[in-house]
């Protein structure tokens, strides 16, 4: 058993005081930023990227990132429950029941089942990641350029088709991202594309600029456009009787199965290119709702509806790391930001990573276990501190976010022109929010588009320009078929409704993994 030895050496690295400090800083920063309303993990990492620029130690940095990510997720669930403002679509499901629980004076129980569920799911799924990573990386060495092309295509299509309410709008976002990815110098031949004759565009558009622009600046402008609709009211934490425990015996009994089921749903969906945590959280929610004996309690604060999706959310993150670490393919917006972070350190995730920097990989995986424990220790006792963060006045909060966003872009690029590009992207982000275009496909198009193009041309080079290379290899053909199927899946309820003879007008236009049938 080599995995065990590797993992132990990873723990050996992480458990040194220096790296434990990195983990603690990451977890605290992540929770702090994640608690801020409207900020999800992807933006948290993007905003905190500049903090790491001067660190020359990739291991410490990635330990910190793992902490930031987990912290952002825990923090996000706190905001969803107490304020009903999920920072990203993956915590929308948590907000449904969680906020209702908080309104009925059960905020503590909701926070506890979210935190403990995340811990359980995080630990189990990290274990699965430890076991799966190396075999998948080995398998990945047999992947050829054509497979990578098909896989990137599948990852993009899945996010576009499965996440968001309209495939056309998703595709528009994706095409916009692909366009942004094309700007600059072609990686293989060095020719300038879509630079419109400017020097500034030659280097291409930095992923950090786009993420900060779309998420931080776009979100703030959007909030500014509807200032009167801000939920200002933070549900209070109940005090008194619950000194002894956060969860009653009954809560535990009702929570543990959803935790495990959420993990079982979350991890595989995260590992497969299916858009990260959005789909599994809604699947988990729907499943718990259907299974529950007390179905009428759903919508009024059923603890199962918090426990399941939160576990799925956390498990999906470890799942997302499988294709990211072993294939170098991000399958969610957050994974794309993580990939950008890797690239800052000139590390290319992929099968070779396990050979070239095993210490880093295993330290990263070990830090996931450690981060989980730290979060559980940090989060529940300190919940009152995080609630204080929620009470920062909105105008100050958003002013601070904008300062940080500007600072982040400036520190990352050293150029005011790039800051202006980020602002312009932010205005686009405002428009996208206003017209309900999903953001994640832009990020994935930007990251995966160039990757896909390079692999496409490489595959053709190997095959002497023969296009049939994409259909003759079974693996490639299967992946391409999945990409086509991903487009059909969202329309299944409509098709089923037609077959049952009901009017399709009554059905939701597209499956968003939350409706009742």
């Amino acid at each position: 058993m080599n995995v065990f030895g590797d993992l132990m050496s990873g723990f050996g690295t992480v458990l040194s005081p220096e790296y434990l400090l990195y983990a603690a800083i990451g977890v605290t920063l992540g929770t702090f930023v994640g608690v801020l309303p409207g900020i999800g993990p992807a933006l948290t990492i993007a905003l905190l990227l500049p903090v790491t620029f001067s660190l020359d130690d990739p291991i410490g940095t990635f330990i910190m990132f793992a902490g930031i990510y987990y912290g952002a997720m825990y923090g996000g669930s706190t905001t969803s429950i107490l304020l009903n403002t999920p920072g990203e679509s993956a915590s929308v499901a948590t907000a449904i029941e969680g906020y209702q629980m908080a309104r009925r004076g059960r905020a503590k129980a909701a926070l506890a089942t979210a935190a403990i569920g995340s811990f359980v799911a995080g630990t189990i799924s990290t274990l699965l990641l430890s076991l799966l990573a190396q075999p998948v990386a080995k398998l990945a060495t047999t992947f050829r350029a054509a497979d990578y092309f098909a896989l990137s295509l599948l990852a993009m299509v899945a996010v576009t088709a499965l996440v968001g309410r309209s495939v056309v709008r998703g595709l528009m976002s994706l095409v916009f991202g692909l366009f942004l990815g094309l700007v600059g110098i072609d990686a293989l031949t060095g020719q300038a594309r879509f630079t419109f004759g400017t020097m500034e565009m030659l280097e291409g558009i930095d992923i950090v600029v786009v993420i900060v622009g779309l998420f931080a600046i776009g979100e703030t402008l959007y909030v500014a456009s509807r200032m009167h609709h801000l939920p200002e009211h933070v549900e209070p934490l109940e005090t008194g009787s619950s000194k002894l425990g956060w969860l009653t015996r009954d809560d535990w009994r009702r929570s543990w199965r959803p935790w495990l089921r959420g993990t079982a749903i979350g991890f595989p969906f995260g590992a497969l290119p299916s858009g990260g945590a959005d789909v599994p959280t809604f699947l988990s929610y729907t499943y718990e709702k259907h299974r529950a004996k007390n179905r009428d309690e759903f919508g009024k604060g059923a603890i199962e509806g918090v426990a399941g999706p939160e576990a799925a959310n956390n498990a999906a993150f470890s799942g997302v790391l499988v294709p990211l670490l072993t294939l170098g393919i991000p399958t969610s917006a957050t994974a794309a930001v993580m990939l950008a972070a890797f690239q800052i350190f000139n590390l290319q995730p992929g099968p070779q990573l396990f050979d070239t920097s095993p210490e880093l990989v295993w330290a990263l995986i070990a830090s996931l276990y450690v981060g989980n424990v730290l979060l559980l220790l940090l989060n529940l006792p300190l919940i009152r501190v995080w609630v204080k963060v929620l009470q920062i006045p909105r105008p100050i909060l958003y002013a601070g976010i904008l300062v940080f966003a500007t600072l982040g872009v400036y520190a990352a690029t050293g150029s005011v022109n790039q800051v202006f590009i980020a602002y312009a992207v932010g205005v686009v982000g405002l428009g996208m929010r206003h017209f309900d275009f999903p953001i994640a496909p832009v990020i994935l198009g930007l990251i995966l588009g160039p990757m896909m193009e390079v692999q496409f041309r490489r595959a053709l080079l190997v095959a002497n320009g023969d296009l049939s290379t994409f259909v003759t290899r079974p693996l490639t053909a299967a992946l391409l078929t999945c990409a086509v199927l991903a487009f059909v899946v969202p329309y299944l309820p409509r098709i089923v409704a037609r077959l049952r003879g009901r009017s399709a007008e009554d059905e939701p236009k597209k499956l968003v993994f939350a409706e009742d049938d």
Binding site: V168, M172, L182, R193, M227, H229, L407, A411, Y423
Partner: protein, 161 residues
């Protein structure tokens, strides 16, 4: 504003009208990009040419934008469920531009302080004293943390530190 007894459609620009305009603009932009891409390709559209992808992507842009336009034209006009104001975002955007321009001349601390005061005001804050305190403390804290602890360059500008 309409009164409660008048639940009829308001004659304002609804979601759909806005979306139709957007779709039309997207089609035009896509067509422009396609034209640029084809021009840059100059007939060289081999499968392995670096000129192929821009043509494919901009063509896809046009197709999707047309599809979006068709979808919008076929949906019913709905009155805006909540009317967004455009004054605040415009104010925020203007403040951002001012911030970015001032950044390298006035330095981070001064420009950020001014920016925080102005933007909080735009976003509806009416506590000037609180805003000023934050506007002084936060940028100085960030500046010291980034330049001293993290060794990241930030323009010092007129602020002697």
């Amino acid at each position: 504003m309409t009164t409660e007894t008048q639940p009829v459609r308001r004659p304002e620009v609804g979601r759909r009208t806005g979306a139709v305009i957007l779709a039309a603009v997207l089609v035009l932009v896509g067509a422009g990009l396609f034209w640029v891409a084809v021009g840059e390709a100059d007939g060289d559209l081999g499968l392995q040419s670096p000129r192929l992808a821009p043509v494919v992507v901009s063509a896809a842009w046009v197709i999707v934008a047309v599809a979006y336009l068709v979808v919008q034209l076929r949906t019913r006009e709905e009155p805006p469920e909540e009317k967004p104001g455009w004054l605040s975002p415009a104010g925020v955007a203007a403040s951002l531009v001012g911030f970015a321009v001032a950044l390298e001349y006035a330095g981070f601390v001064v420009s950020a302080a001014a920016f925080i005061i102005v933007v909080s005001r735009v976003l509806g804050s009416r506590h000037l004293v609180r805003d000023v305190i934050v506007a002084v403390v936060l940028p100085i804290g960030i500046y010291l943390a980034f330049t001293r602890l993290l060794d990241i360059f930030l323009p010092a500008g007129v602020f002697p530190l």
